[in-house]
Symmetry: C2
Subunit: 234 residues, 2 copies
DNA sequence: ACGTGTATAATTGTATACATCAAAAACAAT
DNA sequence: ATTGTTTTTGATGTATACAATTATACACGT
């Protein structure tokens, strides 16, 4: 069972109103429901979700810290969103950090975690072969979360989980093609083998390349036109 | 004038209660006033600061997102703090990211920013020579913020400012020695020269080394014993 | 003595009320 | 018609009130 690698960020999210509101708004921003510079009014959102202002406010304050929302005192909360160039930056940042994560994981991974990775890749290859594309994003997420866990760095894990979330929507699209999915699985396997063999340098390099190739695939296929609509050159 | 590079993270911090409460608790955690596993009760903190629970709650929710506080639903908020190994991780992460920042800054820096860096280093060298150690942390912060600004990446800037803050207390201690201060200034100058010369690879490498040498200096001088007290091996 | 169960207190979660601020509208003056 | 001022409106900032949950204390039974 790999239910251990639950992808929910905080346990609180499921059980508190604030957590649900936070996730809802966050998803709506990442999924383009709210666009750049949209104003997020506490009362309106509260009504829509059937809650009072309080949990909405708390959620907005958190989103401010994540950089998805800008709060101007006494004015309101405005969507910051993710720009086209932000996606580029995120992938370049991730290339470095996933590399570091793979390096540390090589030195610190536990047998169960390696086991879990093995199982994950096996499953992913199976579903890719069968064309079950809807499963791929989930499995990809899981693979990376196992890696984040295995690096045994609270700091790095926290960071990578955040950045992983940011590009959630785009990842779903990217992985919906068979080509990218199979390539992705191959790269995952490569990283795992390097970790298993204790080759930290190789693992780091492969993890970095994994990010770059994901990004290049995205650009090549014009898969992030979705962000272009609400672009502003300021 | 370099007042442009104001180090406050958000404008809201100064003017809203929540912002002040947030900064206060944050500083208290980073400065060791609250220790690992301390419980942060909304009413108590509110009373201490002379405010109601609302701003305190919002601040705690934000700190949760920063990872400095863990919130257990219906139970309370507990200090997570920064462990000894977290400091290590932060510096290794920063080594990569400051490197990337320097690289991008090399390609995108504006003349005014280069000017500001020049001025900053000049001032820092002056104060270091005069033994004005109290100024060093501030100037160091300023240098890095100029760099963050110059890389023209909202994402990377946001991230680096966060991590820079995390190690604020320890940086103050480290820079209080003349040796480290002068070495630090030399490294800053090196980075600036590389950027000015358009040597991105060199700038990246130097910025990374700057972090590693800062960390090694810290370890060598046992300067982060302060974190050891509340350590737990879990 | 020990564990269990209930009552009480304390704390958090949420909703609402009031205060404050800022943009928008209405109006006056030029 | 345009500008400047006042009024109004609507939103946020903060405080408080109530509900739900959890921790504590104590009595009871074994």
């Amino acid at each position: 069972m790999s239910s251990e690698y639950d992808l929910t960020k905080e346990v609180t999210d499921k059980y508190s109103l604030r957590g649900r509101v936070f996730n809802k708004i966050r998803d709506d921003i990442l999924n383009g429901v709210y666009k750049e510079h949209d104003e997020l009014k506490e009362i309106k959102i509260g009504k829509e979700l059937g809650v009072s202002r309080t949990p909405v406010r708390e959620a907005l304050r958190q989103l401010e810290l994540e950089g998805l929302v800008q709060i101007i005192p006494n004015r309101g909360a405005f969507v910051t969103g993710i720009q086209e160039n932000d996606v580029h930056d995120i992938y370049m940042i991730r290339a470095l950090l996933e590399g570091l994560c793979a390096r540390w994981a090589t030195e610190r991974i536990k047998p169960e975690q390696l086991e879990a990775m093995e199982e994950n890749i096996y499953l992913a290859e199976y579903h890719a072969a069968k064309g079950h594309m809807d499963q791929m994003a989930e499995l990809d997420s899981q693979f990376h979360h196992i890696l984040y866990d295995a690096c045994s760095s609270k700091m790095l894990e926290h960071l990578l989980i955040d950045y992983h979330q940011y590009v959630l929507r785009i990842r779903k699209k990217t992985l919906s093609t068979v080509e990218r999915s199979t390539a992705c699985n191959k790269e995952h396997r490569g990283i795992m083998e390097a970790i298993r063999a204790g080759k930290a340098d190789l693992a780091e390099r492969l993890a970095g390349e994994h990010m770059r190739s994901a990004y290049e695939n995205m650009v090549r296929n014009g898969l992030y036109d979705i962000y272009k609509s609400d672009r502003k050159d300021s």
